[in-house]
Symmetry: C2
Subunit: 407 residues, 2 copies
């Protein structure tokens, strides 16, 4: 994989370096980039060969949150992930009347037999798992019935925990509804390249889709931005402009569904539930490492590096309709608005925007109460891994692991 390097510019906020968008010139730089090849080239790009990326992949877990996805789509996603990665599927699929989770386990079992991939699969609503979190006093992931909440973010946190349990240094998130295994493969290679570029133990790799095909008038179009990203990016940039005093458009990945974290960073972060998980990731890093909030004692010596990388492949996923768009935007904007680092000017703009959305919601009555659903989950660092590991092993039916012995 060859991409822009160094990034064209970087915003530094406290211990955080946010790098501007980097483009990819080739997704496959071959097995060995010889130094001759590297040197002859101008110095504005860097290439990582498959050997180098492979080393990063052996330290990486790829977490796939799943909810009632078509099995063939999920299988396609699995087929695109490099063999070296540990795959962790966290399912929130229905158990009754049809046990879709059992179907997923069956498919994964069969597929892992043929593909020799290392795959773990767990159901996030398994009562055994809730019981474990209860015992560990990690209650911020539980609902009022002491069950793990249903959100995608909750699935991500479970995925991070299972990755840490299996001693992975990096964890990447990939959606289960991608039609192109080749695009999935690119995402993982981008994650690996990002971690290879990072000078810091703590890094966040965020993917910017080149385009997102849409069907209209019986034709396929390739618009640049999603309808939610456009607005979250704007307000996140407003926020950073306010902090630095210089107007910026550096953020292009506010709602990046595909992103990765080094474990050192992931275990220190709070995650927001619901649709705001991706923009809140940025907000939480700013809160914890930006040196903006005086009382925050967590300004580290280590810096946090945020890379934003544009894919070569379009992002072509299952069309889930428009109902979730307004809710998604509401939650994303609320996550920005609710932060202590958000100043009054931006707050006013966002509140006005939210009022307009509120009216739309009432008109279409597609969603209500989306905003109230803004839970924060504690950093998983507080969980004793030995104990978690022990408790998971004590619940033999909780976690299915295929080809695990070869790790």
């Amino acid at each position: 994989m060859r991409l822009d390097f160094p990034p064209k510019y970087t915003e530094t906020i406290g211990s955080i370096k946010i790098h501007s968008l980097q483009k990819i010139y080739e997704i496959d730089s071959g097995n060995v980039v010889n130094s001759n090849n590297q040197r002859n080239n101008n110095t504005s790009t860097i290439a990582f060969d498959n050997r180098k990326l492979s080393k990063k992949c052996t330290k990486m877990a790829v977490v796939i949150p799943v909810k009632n996805e078509k099995l063939s789509l999920l299988e396609g996603v699995l087929s695109g992930i490099p063999n070296e990665c540990l795959i962790i599927i966290v399912s929130n699929s229905q158990r009754t009347p049809v046990d879709r989770y059992a179907m997923e386990v069956e498919m994964v079992k069969q597929f892992s037999q043929f593909s020799n991939k290392r795959i773990s699969i767990i159901h996030q609503r398994d009562p055994n798992l809730s019981r474990i979190f209860h015992k560990l006093n990690y209650t911020s992931i539980l609902d009022q019935h002491s069950q793990v909440r249903r959100g995608k973010a909750e699935g991500m946190v479970i995925g991070i925990l299972l990755a840490k349990m299996q001693e992975k240094e990096y964890v990447g998130f990939i959606d289960s509804d991608n039609y192109f295994p080749g695009a999935v493969n690119e995402y993982v290679k981008i994650f690996a390249s990002g971690f290879a570029m990072s000078q810091s133990r703590m890094s966040n790799i965020r993917i910017c889709w080149r385009s997102k095909p849409k069907v209209a008038n019986n034709k396929v179009y390739f618009p640049r931005w999603g309808r939610v990203s456009e607005h979250s990016n704007k307000y996140l940039n407003d926020l950073i402009s306010y902090i630095t005093g210089y107007e910026t458009d550096i953020i292009t990945t506010g709602n990046a569904g595909e992103h990765a974290l080094s474990m050192s960073l992931a275990e220190n972060m709070q995650f927001a539930s619901g649709y705001s998980v991706e923009p809140y990731e940025l907000i939480n890093i700013l809160e914890n490492f930006g040196g903006i909030i005086k009382e925050s004692s967590r300004l580290h010596k280590d810096s946090v590096e945020i890379f934003q990388i544009e894919t070569r492949n379009p992002h072509f996923h299952e069309d889930k309709g428009n109902d979730h768009i307004i809710g998604m935007l509401q939650e994303s904007l609320s996550a920005i608005n609710n932060s202590k680092i958000c100043n009054t000017d931006i707050t006013r703009d966002i509140k006005n925007h939210l009022l307009v959305l509120e009216q739309k919601t009432n008109q279409t009555s597609s969603r209500t109460g989306a905003i109230s659903n803004n839970h924060l989950m504690d950093p998983i660092k507080t969980i004793s891994m030995d104990k978690f590991n022990e408790l998971v092993i004590d619940s033999p039916k909780l976690l299915h692991q295929f080809n695990a012995s070869e790790i």
Copy 2:
């Protein structure tokens, strides 16, 4: 890349082995498939690691025929090809009033600078090239004005020649209008895996798309077969059933636009111009190596292996409309029908089918005279490579080569 191996069954016709469709289980088996991993697995699949595929790629040229393609689409295709491959672009784009070929050369120049890819580009209608073919007495590629004909097949033959000139052992063909660089990357890895599986010097790797997205009623569908493939596959299977005496459905890649040939096979083949180039490839192999035509003295000791491999990625390409579909089917069926190995029963069926198509053509008057355009080009083995090389070097503006010194 891990795929079915050995193939489920094989039809043997004379010196030819046609293998049944092989499916892919993972597109990226990592950098090193350790023998442990390989052994533990059941024996119905084989994995080729990136190290192995890379070795095959260094011996491969990827030929991309181009005709007035959007530059951004073409650039995307280039970005998906592994760095080790030599890329050969054969353009048939317009020169006036806008010189699109000059735009392509400019884009390739800039792109190759950033990507460090080895790219050659040539225009197939360049008068210098026609002159060279005239001097070499290779006139089957020329039209009545002693100019190279406009077809894609002519571009392919030029690509094979340039690959041979640069001593490549394998040559693959990829269309320039693919929206997904990740899918292009998969094609090349399939070619490399096919050549790695082959026991013979002479092999043909044919790609079967998993699906081909179509837009209808403002939704995207993923049908399994193209409208032309369905029919060509049927008649090719009828032909093979007739030859072997057993009904078969082994052919699934009659119109495979993406395919590859070992040079030992490519240089011995005749190519048909127009839309029939892909199905005729199979017919020509049957004619030359099937031992069916008594007078054919070319029954070799070496066998020819034909692999058919199903992609994991859908094939999502630029929609060129429906006008060419009937013409494409007419030419494909004629190529099968005109062969000396085609028996009367099948001839009758195809002729009836062609009559129906003829009526449709007259009704829509979208195309006429498509069938008459069924030229055959002589095997390029007849061309002296030393002389060809010399003549190309003597025409300094004919062939643009970027990063060539690093070959």
